[in-house]
Subunit: 352 residues, 2 copies
């Protein structure tokens, strides 16, 4: 069988990490890279690695050059967080007859934020015989799918609590700005009122996925953003928070039924959390029979985790029935240390 | 749509727990119970519960009476640990045209212990248009599927270590005997040499599932059973271990490549572990990029966990393509708090 052919749209830290991961795997060929800022350069030159026998791939900002119709079995879209912004790109790809994985957070459970676009994408994907999946580390795994799979050992679930306590220190200047690192409480209040701080994108999606997966009925969704003020100066490679300013933000959300919280989410994000005595980790607590109390310490590294989720779900998405799908529809995702070609079902290959 | 119709073969602690769980759920009807020892009694009488509107089900030891052809959408087989012993029963059910979930440990990855029977079951299931799944808490989730799904956030995996440290105290006299609780080291040595102690059944299956799931190549499988001697008297509802005798057994196993352990399993099982200062829990450590260090404390309760895994996988097995399948083939298992009928795909209903 021919190599599984993958193209990547978006060649920032995520897209580059995916290319690097895929080049280290078996049975994969990268057919095109669409990205801004490196026009005309070769993929391996930008990655700074020796690509050996791999065909030379020239980065272009013209998607029709990078990804002709049916030129790939699947395209990873790594450009946006929001469904609305990703939508025209998804339309372009679906009409080219290729399967798509996107790391747009809202696309992990598109039905939560954009039910109409979800419906349109589903119809379009079915018309074109391809499948479209949103995934990532969070949403996509730690605050949703992991709770879902842990519930499989339970007879009943009364309440789901997910906590992701992570460090923003490894992240770059964009994240520092989106999370308000270093701003004063006054500036935070202003920006928050104007909706200028992204905070975490994905609570509505995670809660939607958990509720649908477990069959928990939810009639209300709420979320909050609070400043995390630091009492001491904190410094990370790309961030600085003086004492009295924000080290980050504390994001919380609730899925409720009749006013009672059934799904409870805590996601404080800050630089240098250990300076406030905070240990990082991912936690899932399921109340019910039997109870489940899980922790992962330290937290799963977000950047690498998202890159891995995308490249590891490729076979499941190529093999899936056509349509807009979610992590609830596909067989358990897993690392792929073997040959991708062995994992593709007969008749599912697109690119020749 | 009609209720999803389920029959149960084997009405001991597991079968009874499954019936109880299913009666508490929506869109389910129990159509038959095949079991020994309660012949002629009604299911709800044996369960000691009020079954409300549910049709009366009389327990019989004649499987052809309990489960006529196509009388159920799925049968849960809760009678055996070993594939060879379960095989004739599976054959009977498959030829009746019903889907099957079994909690026989060896059936969680039948290809490890009985590749020829696996092949026969797969062919037979395909001929009859039904699917057959082996599952349970372990094998089935904590020492295999959970490691597999956690690896989804990784770019590469170098080593997998699973530890399940559990208490045997909740279990009955059969388990006490199978695990050697209370016997002397001399008796242990004799019984172990003769293969009379079951210990844990499922290491070969868990390692097989992990290796296949992640694409890790393994060329050797080894396992060991060692006595856990107690320094003080320990007493549980059904077990007693005097000082100097066995509180249980320490089961270990390794999946190796070129002599190096790639998959490492630890499963000490004993009564009253806290008397030796042992905290129970389930642990998965994945070495690689990024590393994952997971713990569930205390351990997931085995009996309830196995009951739940069986009843929660019903929709996935009914919906699956025909054949012998595994936990790697189906969408992520999860608790079902909603209506089973909404989860069955069109055309997959068997019993009318």
């Amino acid at each position: 069988m021919q190599n599984v052919k993958i193209a990547i749209w978006g060649f920032g830290a995520m897209g580059q990490g995916m290319a690097r991961a895929l080049l280290g795997r078996k049975g994969i060929e990268i057919t095109g890279i669409c990205g801004r800022g490196n026009n005309g350069k070769s993929m391996c030159e930008v990655l700074g690695i020796d690509c050996g026998d791999h065909k030379k791939v020239i980065i272009t900002d013209d998607v029709d050059v990078a990804i002709p119709p049916k030129s790939a079995d699947l395209v990873i879209l790594a450009t946006d967080s929001f469904t609305k912004k990703a939508y025209p790109k998804l339309e372009n790809l679906i009409e080219k007859g290729v399967n798509v994985i996107t790391i747009a957070e809202e696309m992990s459970w598109t039905w939560a934020g954009e039910p109409e676009l979800a419906q349109k994408l589903d119809v379009l994907a079915k018309q074109n015989g391809v499948s479209v999946l949103g995934t990532g580390i969070n949403p996509g795994l730690v605050m949703d799918l992991l709770a879902v799979i842990l519930s499989a050992c339970m007879i009943d679930v009364k309440k789901v609590t997910c906590r992701r306590v992570n460090s923003l220190s490894p992240f770059g200047p964009t994240v520092m700005e989106e999370q308000g690192v270093g701003i004063t409480p006054q500036v935070f209040a202003e920006k928050n009122a104007k909706g200028e701080l992204a905070g975490h994108v994905g609570f509505a999606e995670s809660i939607g996925m958990i509720a649908a997966g477990m069959g928990l009925e939810i009639d209300e969704f709420t979320q909050q953003m609070q400043p995390i003020l630091t009492e001491v100066d904190r410094k990370s490679p790309y961030g600085f928070a003086a004492a009295g300013t924000l080290a980050g933000v504390n994001m919380t959300a609730q899925g409720k039924r009749d006013g009672e919280t059934i799904i409870d989410m805590y996601h404080p994000q800050q630089i240098e959390p250990q300076m406030a005595g905070v240990d990082t980790g991912d936690y899932v607590v399921l109340e019910g029979t039997p109870p489940v109390n899980m922790q992962i310490t330290p937290e799963i590294e977000g950047g690498l985790g998202t890159i891995a989720m995308a490249v590891n779900c490729i076979p499941q998405v190529i093999n899936a029935d056509a349509g807009l799908i979610s992590m609830l529809d596909i067989p358990v995702p897993r690392v792929i240390m073997g040959d991708y070609r062995k994992l593709i079902k007969e008749g599912k290959k697109i690119a020749q």
